[in-house]
Symmetry: C2
Subunit: 238 residues, 2 copies
Amino acid sequence: MIAISEIFGPTIQGEGALTGVPTVFVRTGGCDFRCSWCDTLYAVEARFKADWTPMSAEAVLAEVERLSGGRPLLITLSGGNPALQPLGDLLSLGQARGYTFAIETQGSKAQDWFARLDHLTLSPKPPSAGMAFSQRRFDACLAAAGVNTQVTLKLVIADEADYRWARDFAARYPHLPLTLQPCNPAPATPDEPARETDLDALNARLRWLVDKVTADGWFAARVLPQLHVIIWNNERGV
Amino acid sequence: MIAISEIFGPTIQGEGALTGVPTVFVRTGGCDFRCSWCDTLYAVEARFKADWTPMSAEAVLAEVERLSGGRPLLITLSGGNPALQPLGDLLSLGQARGYTFAIETQGSKAQDWFARLDHLTLSPKPPSAGMAFSQRRFDACLAAAGVNTQVTLKLVIADEADYRWARDFAARYPHLPLTLQPCNPAPATPDEPARETDLDALNARLRWLVDKVTADGWFAARVLPQLHVIIWNNERGV
């Protein structure tokens, strides 16, 4: 069974290389990380476990089909850390009906079904997140993706230290398409779900990041904001 | 010689499939169109011809190299209509030094050097632009791109009529990646260069467009705003 926090859409993907692409989100519950600026703690912290519904792959796909009117589209697997879940059967069922799959994960847990994804976004956490990094686990994720899955690196940047870390990290994977994403300055939290982020501060971070990247001639780095935050602020379910 | 309106950057591409990618813009002067909501009339209207500098391909590339510190990156050819200019030599010179090239054009004029571009964005104008459309010329642009150039369709949407037109138009080219872009509600004009757009109205158009696309199950359509307008409003040179 798959621990499901929420299934919503269709909406557009708000971040990373697939920004703007219509998709349904399947958010799983449970995470091996607890990042300082996590914007989906309701799918992370164990105290919310009772809110996560155990669902079969068939039931998850049935809900996606209901939401999409049965028209195939991109299914985005997010979390929490969706790589902790048994998602191989969901891939098989969905792909047989024309759906495509993208996953977003920190790269701490490899699964053999990574090789059957269309898109694998690996988002190792920068120093500001306060989490440890395992090179061995990350490289296992890359290896599991094989040659048919499009792998992208997405690095969240909150400050100068994150930026320096990102430069060093990305330099080790020059073959991977790279997106830099300014960190949401004030994500909603379970205790303050209606918290609004400061869009001016977010925009300032975005300008700063564009200035850094262009001044440094770091032309392999694509700079993209969380578009859903710009459109809907911290609202859930969009 | 190439009629140059401005060369600026590095900044990030603000619109279309390459949104977020670091680039230098080479904006040519002169256009065969005069769209109602054009945001670069200073590179379009004949009354600004005296502001356009005739430059050789060598001189254009020298300026791009100065701006980029000699590090190869994406050069975005925009206008006006850059397809009116003799850009074949610029492609040869730039590609020999590792630069890549994208062009944005309405698809009214084909050039044999389209086949040597990395990216060709065709942006035929919707009804709200008030311009005529030539199927023959558009298809000549597609043919000129050949098989090695990545062609993308970018359709600007200002209202319901544009949306309906876009659905019909895109249905004729199902093999082309498609981006829908909400029209800037208040672009700067030469007579009011400091005019600020209404970001709330832009955001409302963006939400409306996402809602339309998802409600209609039009999942091949990627919805992307002009990110530079969100970041820098109508400012020039960014």
